[in-house]
């Protein structure tokens, strides 16, 4: 059995380049174990992840922890169902020993992930294999990742992304991060500060203090920068922050105006945003390098919440030019816009999916809020959630899952972050140390 080595000097510099070529090889030799994610999946695929083998004496805890995170990632998709270790017949102890498939078939496992971990000082090496239990074959080659003890969760996410890809044929989303607004205090005195965390809520780090209101952070296309709106000047203005250094600078600072709702273009060189002047809010783009802005809309209506298509050629946004909030698409250079939302109620905060096929949005109708998706021509609208107040969707890197803000009602109302898959079937709260709102999902990390 051949292993492809993936080595990186730092845990935070795990490279995916070789892993990608492995994925291609795996896809070329796809076995029968294949789950196609569609609307109607109601039978999640049962899988088993026994604790990884500790190849060195000090690796026992890490071997168990890695297996748990891999299993939690897969289980959390709703596409897979973990078989608990208490049901296992086979004792998995040796990564290189042949697998007794009948023992795994007997507990109805269809996929089996085995792994082995060695620790040498600060360096960690993880090997893993994915088995199609039904046909008794491996799914793709064995693979190994090298990293450091501090970066062990990322290694687990990379393993899980690879497993997910091999079984679904789609890109994963586990090795990703979320920037969000961490909230404390009552509604009328709420403290808000920017925070960043792993997609599953681990490794929270605060990026600002709560001395000024901060709103709606947005990742750059490669995850190195964050756009957000802050009141630190006393007025809402757009800032850009370098994630690594946490250095920030104001991006839009025209006297007598307010700017908000920024998002990067797919190239990362342009920012589309809203600017309010004289009570009127329109959409502009700014070249990040030169700071030069271009006005894209020019109506007395509220035009805000713009989001680029993944190819950068179009922008979806909301406008009340018809008399109520609705969704429109225009060219990235401005000009005529076509309305795409026509259902009952109001539509806002559209976000183009990374695959380009769908627009996620917030819908307000009959006193309830919904997160929904529609095709980019407005057809096939589907509402995925309903509550007192859901808003602000953000897409997972593979376009399968949406995170959003849910606020509860009343005097004790508080915000939390939820995720829902685009079938609407798997709704989960994302754990955060305080209240949370305005999540923005990063791309897969490099």
């Amino acid at each position: 059995m051949k292993f492809l080595n993936i080595r990186a000097a730092l845990a935070y510099a795990l490279t995916c380049a070789l892993a990608l070529s492995v994925t291609t090889a795996a896809q070329a030799q796809q076995g029968p174990l294949r789950i196609t994610i569609e609307q109607g999946i109601i039978q999640p695929l049962p899988f088993a992840v026994p604790n990884f083998q500790a190849e060195t004496g000090n690796a026992g805890q890490l071997a168990a922890d890695l297996a748990r995170v891999v299993a939690a990632n897969l289980q959390g998709t709703g596409v897979f169902r973990e078989i608990p270790s208490s049901a296992f017949i086979a004792q998995y102890t040796d990564f290189n020993a042949p697998v007794t498939f009948s023992d795994w078939r007997a507990i109805n496992a269809q996929a089996l992930v085995t792994g082995a971990v060695s620790v040498n000082g600060n360096a960690v090496n993880v090997k893993f294999r994915v088995y199609d239990v039904v046909s008794g074959t491996t799914l793709g080659d064995g693979l190994q990742f090298s990293g450091t003890t501090e970066g062990w969760r990322r290694m687990a996410h990379k393993v899980a992304d690879e497993v997910y890809s091999r079984i679904t044929g789609e890109g994963g989303y586990f090795d990703s991060r979320v920037v969000f607004v961490s909230e404390t205090g009552p509604k009328d005195n709420r403290g808000k500060r920017l925070a960043i965390m792993d997609y599953d809520g681990a490794n929270v780090r605060f990026l600002t203090d709560s001395s000024a209101i901060v709103l709606a952070p947005r990742f750059s296309p490669n995850g190195d920068r964050i756009l957000y709106t802050s009141y630190e000047s006393g007025f809402p203005r757009i800032y850009v922050m370098d994630v690594g250094s946490v250095q920030r600078r104001v991006l839009q600072n025209t006297e007598g105006t307010m700017s908000f709702a920024p998002r990067f273009s797919p190239s990362g060189n342009t920012v589309v945003y809203s600017l309010s002047q004289g009570g009127n809010t329109d959409i502009y783009t700014m070249d990040v390098g030169s700071g030069q802005s271009t006005r894209l809309t020019n109506t007395p209506a509220i035009e805000t919440a713009p989001s680029f298509s993944p190819d950068g050629s179009q922008i979806v946004f909301e406008s009340d030019r018809s008399g109520s909030q609705q969704l429109y698409i225009m060219s990235a250079g401005g000009g005529e816009a076509r309305r795409i939302s026509f259902g009952a109620g109001r539509y806002g905060t559209p976000v183009w999916s990374p695959r380009g096929d769908l627009v996620a949005f917030t819908k307000q109708n009959a006193g309830r809020f919904h997160i929904g998706v529609m095709r980019t021509d407005g057809s096939e609208e589907r509402l995925l959630t309903a509550s007192f107040l859901d808003e602000g969707p953000t897409w997972s890197p593979n376009g399968r899952v949406i995170m959003f803000t849910r606020e509860t009602q009343g005097e004790g109302g508080a915000s939390t972050i939820y995720s829902v898959d685009i079938t609407g079937r798997v709704l989960r709260q994302v754990p955060t140390p305080e209240g949370g709102s305005d999540p923005s999902w990063s791309p897969l990390q490099q």
Binding site: D188, I213, T281, A305, G348, Q364
Partner: protein, 173 residues
């Protein structure tokens, strides 16, 4: 007297910027206001019985106007309040003001920011039409970020859909 209270305001703002972790003091909300104190409180700015005081403006003239759902059109009551504000501002020419526009929680964040901007602008334009120099007025929108009432029904929403004129000393007198 007035000079003294203004300098006190500035000192208090500088202090709060450095040390006060609760920047959102007072009803008007918002962090340290670039044009002076964000509703630093009646106690700082004279007695409500003094018609030149901030407290008098806030309480007797009325510092805010309210709006209907998703509207930024001034009501007759709102225009009457703003008439009083305009008269007061013309008489007390030392003061500048920031007009804060707010929305209730029934709306998305970005839309409510834009709606608050419309409301603040409606109040500002009215004051200017009544003779207040535009140079003494600035607008800011807080959207739904700073409600004064926190229940989730119309009795609270009605008070949160507002434009608040927050006075600040500024011009030398």
């Amino acid at each position: 007297m007035k000079l003294l209270s203004v300098s006190l305001l500035v000192a208090a703002v500088a202090l709060s910027a450095c040390t006060n972790p609760n920047r959102f003091g007072g009803d008007a909300g918002g962090p340290v206001n670039p044009m002076g104190g964000s509703a630093m409180g009646a106690g700082m700015a004279g007695s409500a019985s003094d018609p030149t005081s901030v407290a008098f403006f806030n309480q007797s003239v009325g510092d805010r106007v309210l709006f209907s759902v998703d509207q930024s059109t001034l009501t007759p009551e709102g225009r009457a309040t703003l008439d009083g504000q305009a008269n007061w501002l013309m008489t007390n020419a030392d003061y500048q003001a920031v007009i804060e526009g707010h929305a209730d929680e029934q709306g998305t964040r970005e839309y409510n920011l834009a709606l608050g901007a419309r409301r603040a602008n409606a109040a500002q334009e009215y004051l200017v039409s009544r003779g207040v120099p535009a140079s003494r007025l600035r607008v800011v929108s807080y959207g739904k970020e700073r409600p004064v009432e926190i229940c989730s029904n119309e009795s609270c929403y009605a008070k949160n859909r507002r434009a608040v004129t927050v006075l600040a000393g500024g011009l030398s007198s």
